[in-house]
Amino acid sequence: MSSTPQDQRPAEGALIDRSRPVTFQFEGRTYRGFHGDTLASALLANGVRVLGRSFKYHRPRGLLGVGVEEPNVLVQSGTGARSTPNVRATEAEIFDGLIAQPVNCWPSARFDVLALNGLAAPFLAAGFYYKTFMWPRWMLFEPWIRKAAGLGRAASEADPDRYETRYDHCDVLVIGSGPAGLAAARAAGQGGARVLLVEQDVRPGCSLLGETTLIDGLPASAWAAKVVSELHGLAETRILTRTTAIGYYDHNFVVLAEKVADEALCAKSDTAVRLRLWQVRAKRVVLATGALERPLAFPGNDRPGVMLASAARQYLARYGVLAGRRPLIFTNNDDAYETALRMKEAGADVRAVVDARNAAPADLTASLAQLGIRVISSGEVVSVRGASGVTAAQVRTPDGRRSWIDCDLVAMSGGFNPAVHLFSQSGGKLRFDEALTCFVPDVSVQAERSAGACTGGFSLGEALDQGHVAGLAAAADVGCPSHVSPPAAASHRAYAVQAVWQVQAEGKAFVDFQNDVTADDVRLAHEESFASVEHLKRYTTLGMAPDQGKTSNVNAIGIMAALTGRGVGETGTTTYRPPFTPTPLAAFGGLDRDGLFRPLRTMPCHAEHERLGAHFEDYGGWARPSGYPLPGESRQQTETREARVVREQCGLFEGSPLGKMEVVGPDAGVFLDRIYANTVSTLKPGHVRYGLMLNELGVIIDDGVVVRLAEDRFLVCTTSGGAGRIAAWLEEWLQCEWVDLRVIVAPVTTAWGVLTLTGPRARDVLMRAGADFDVSPEAFPHMSFREGRVGSTEARVLRVSYTGEVSYEINVRASETSKLWASIYEAGQGQGLQPVGIDAWDLLRTEKGYLHVGADTDGTTTPFDVGFGHVLKKKSDFVGRRSLTLPENQRPDRLQLVGFEPRDPQAPLPSGSHVRAPDGRGSMGYVTSSAMSPVLGRTVAIGMLEGGAARHGETVSLVTPTGPQAAKVTAPGAYDLRGERLNG
């Protein structure tokens, strides 16, 4: 049924613009509302009562609240890639073309097939998955239960919208723009302090919107508008609306989520921002976050048409909607009487005010009586009729009599809870105020102040006062004192409340509406000894739904306190965690996605590789060629061809990412001797030595060559992956431990481009490219270093080899690497020179049995494990030395590096293939590097084997994808074991 919007809109509505109608869809039906409506207010105005189904029992539900506290009506907003699950209908602004569906029901909220869950209710009480559905096996029921669980659906396509992150600093951050927040911002900004006022609503004002109470002689909403316009006039003050402070972190770091453009705008524009995440550092914070109303826990309190009393009032003030024509008010405090008055004024027939307190306030009772509204003292609602919408409520009085009162709305108020979420996240401690029956901020830890309803100052006068004081104090603290006079409002009645945590009566009284947790569940948790609040929460799932217990936590604490006989304050709260409201993951990702997620670095010769048709992969953050496939070649074929070219002719490989740092100073040699496991200081200028670096546990953390350039100058080369890490490692030792050593470490990794020429014809190509130094084997032996020109480029040339062939690692200024590539490539034509990628590079070193730190070693591998015990320094100390003599590192059955030669030469032995232990123990080792060798015509593999160094010649069985494979254990390395080609 869809009535015309005007039927339920007798009043003005501060936020809506009746001249701008909006058409939207809900559950496939088209409705009309006005610009400024939320989905909730528009549907309410259209008389739609059943708007969703509850999580577990699939009970029909309607709106409970009017804003962020709404637990019942979550919708799936939008379709396709932009579809967003679990949007609170009370915060979804309607626009032309909005398509929304209720979550958790099929085919519709009114006729939901899964309502059958309600029949299973006895089996679905708290903790049911520990007790029911256990026989014969939980796994039988699990898939079905998982399918039924959950609320909305995540989109399955990538999110096409744009999300941004901004960083900001301010003097005073004011969170909330109700009376306290506006008073604070006004007071803080006048002296020139940089003020940021944030408001989660569409415009500032909050409880002042649609209010006529006088502040400084103006109706409240007009006063709010005036203050806002004053704030806009201050150069250093900014206001952000639709912006929720979602988290309060260390040292006044607050994260805000700003809704910028809606789905419709984002669909039309590439640059529109959907959500903007602000990361703000504030010198001072003023929390003016207000308070949230508590429901009352009575049987039937979840029926559609049972709503928070202040929400009913807000629907009227903000949207001009009467939530019911015949409301019944049920309350334990004075505030709800205001709802009765307003609804009566708007033309509703207020059926009664049921006050749970022994003595309803005399003055209010009298004013209501004058309007013909009866007040029932010491009354409790104990039952509600109308599963698809309230039709009557049963009231019980102390004499035991029960009577049904016809109504179409039960507006309930159990009191108010200050919104202390951000205060608690900041580390602040709460205390329970017995008179106000709520938790209030007690001890601050950070430089913040709370003001207004969020401190328990529920009246307008208190809010304005506290906000003003907090704003002045913050401004003074930051050195921009201001001198505005405090705003004045007529004094209001003090807030009077009497705690009613639960109405004792038969039937389901809901405490957590979103996770379907009843008062009986709390009692069950207590009976089963889950009485602490942390256990209560997790056992019943109370407070764990997307609303994080905004309308349930305190009632539950009150009920548990009564059961355990402890005070509410002593029972305490669970930990408040960010985000305050659910925030899409995309917002945290911001622009760091796709190409920007982990930006790839490109090498100096990237363009050359591209031109040669390289296939690129991400190697440690660098885009590097895995190979240069010829047309029609498979990846394996490319690898085989390139490896063969290196063994038979000549290959050219870019090694620019290799780590390089110059270590300079009178104590450079001494320093490097302490850092390396082997001796470095005896290296002569022009010579190169291979070194191992260990950590203090004796574990290999990097390997590479070190070159002595001069008496006090070394070039330390690391693995490509270790470049930044090892430079930092060296600095750490110099700055923290050996502070008196006279050494400077200068990382130069990206200053030098590196091209490696390798193969039997490498020397010939080098000569043809033109070297102005003697490259004969006698003049330039393996493991030495020369400086000079290659082609026309100044270069440092290391004769070191990763491939096992004669190799020249030519280092040139990074900006000249392309020039060098061109001259070498040209010189190489006619010599069979081809470019070589990483796949082939790795195959070549595996054939030689050369170590690849991080592939053949792990976080436990010591030099002894890889056969390097003999190069360790004998006498002097080095990092890791002492650990090598610990008993664990001396065990003979440690994993040690070996080679594996398969009995079937063609059998693949992929990395990770385990060596089967004969006694059924499992594994006694595994393959770490493996390749199919073109020159040897068989699989070559190296890996780890328990006590492997003493087991050469033994046959072991490997577990591989092609079945068990027998292999002989050898020393690592299968090609040119005497190094003749290397030293040629």
């Binding site: 260390d250 550092r281 830890v445 546990l697 930092a728 600095e731 431990e737 008993p887």
Partner: protein, 95 residues
């Protein structure tokens, strides 16, 4: 997101730094004089106080210098930052 005062660069966000754990740990040596127990203590034993903790931080995405920080592990309040070579003044129970 702590706000850390680098002694050279001033107050910067935590994301610019890396924490090096407990500070003022002397490296025992020479190795032949250090027992297994002493060496294991140096490698693995660390304080885990509820309160004042003196730790090392390095301004990794800034000046690259290491320095000391006295931080309260409960409130995350930073009581002082001081040079690597200094001892630090802050005591537990200081406001």
């Amino acid at each position: 997101m702590l706000l850390i005062s680098c002694p050279w660069c001033g107050a910067r966000a935590e994301s610019e730094f890396r924490c090096g754990g407990q500070s003022h740990i002397a490296r025992p040596g020479p190795p032949e004089t250090v027992s297994d127990a002493e060496w294991s203590a140096y490698l693995f034993e660390r304080l885990n106080p509820k309160g004042l903790h003196r730790e090392r931080w390095v301004h990794a995405y800034g000046c690259g210098r290491w320095f000391n920080v006295a931080r309260d592990t409960v409130t995350h309040q930073i009581l002082e930052t001081y040079l690597m070579t200094e001892a630090g003044q802050a005591q537990a129970d200081q406001p």
